[in-house]
Amino acid sequence: MSSLNNLLLPAVLFFALGCIARLIKSDLRFPPDLAKVLSIYLLMAIGLHGGHELAKADFVIALNSIMWALVLGFTLPIIGYLALLMTRKVNPMDAAAISAHYGSVSAGTFLTAIAYLDSAGVDYESYPLIMLAVMESPAIIVGLILAAKARQSMQADKNGLSPDGTGTVAANTDDNNGGFGGLMRDAFTNGSVVILIGSMIIGAISMPSGMEKLFPFIDDIFMGVLCLFLFEMGMVAARRLGDFRQVGWLLAAFGIVMPLVGGMVGVLVGHYILDFSVGGATLVAVLGASASYIAVPPAMRLAVPEANPSFYLTLSLGITFPFNVMVGIPLYHGVVQSLAT
């Protein structure tokens, strides 16, 4: 399937419609919180569906997938961080916060990839779904460690410049950034992780007859809900793209190059190491390529307040997400396909 065909998926077309609605300054507004409601549904449906399949899964492969998801989640942000520092356009704090987004994953992109594979009639394993759940959190932790190091060295510089100590703010227990333990807990008890893993367990242990009753809810209407979700996300992305000028060309280029790098690492892991089918390896590539815009921004706002939110939001939501949805997914699929034949 060529990339043109990807653009003709209803879900992707609705994403484009959302972008256009913003660009022509339409008065179209979705009710507040609709995207949140839809994303809860989408995570729940995909979790139930995947859990149902995973009940029949091979334990060793599942464990192996989890391990490689952790490797991806811990490695990608470090690659991103070093690349960002090389651009010399952002300070280490911003680089840490941005790279945390790129090591984490976007469920919206993953679901679009599922829609793409479904309509192309390509089969895929359900293991990438566990990887999706696992990969939400490690990058947040790496981002926090990188930010803590950057904070230390910046503080040292500052103290060197102003020995009177104006740079040091009185430490107070309630004002430390939540403590590392607290942030770790936040990273792993994140709402989307709870919905996804919880639904997977429910899908895996429920009686098959009970699950069958759910199929209209989790299967039949799934693509329609995804269209609605991407419709709104198109509007959100287009609004973010308006901040493009603040970000500058070099950083914008990072928003396209980084998913390509992550996608290729994902292809290698999915195809060569985990030995998945073309569909499964494509999904792993999408996991490597996608950048979070739901779970990571609030975590960074809380833990890395020094970083500029318009950098990471514009990059992940305004540039990388549209790029992956429209160009990336068919590209990664094409690469895996050419490797497989």
Partner: protein
């Protein structure tokens, strides 16, 4: 004629990711209660008009007697020094039931 009593109203505009952190400070520094509203607008951090529920802004209101609010204001100032984006402004208000603002949150 109803008797009115002077109090201070602390207003904070910030991102909703900071809500829990602020509420912790309110408890720690003796606020008697708080009210949180969804907010949108624009300012030094650019436009905050996202009503999708992701990355939204909030307006937080706390009523306190002037003599008790200094500790809370200090903690807000420390947060601002750390880089958190908080817009804080304080207004004089008059209330009908001052007893409501004596009891601190658990």
């Amino acid at each position: 004629m109803v008797t009115l009593y002077p109090e201070k109203l602390i207003n904070i505009i910030t991102n909703d990711a900071l809500e829990d952190k602020l509420v912790d400070s309110f408890k720690k520094y003796g606020a008697s209660g708080y009210t949180i509203l969804r907010a949108r607008g624009a300012g030094s951090s650019g436009r905050q008009a996202d009503m999708t529920g992701f990355d939204a802004n909030i307006l937080v209101k706390v009523i306190m007697p002037e003599e008790r609010m200094q500790d809370l204001l200090d903690s807000l100032e420390r947060k601002i020094h750390k880089g958190y984006h908080l817009t804080v402004f304080i207004t004089d208000i008059e209330v009908m039931t001052p007893g409501k603002f004596d009891k601190t949150l658990n």
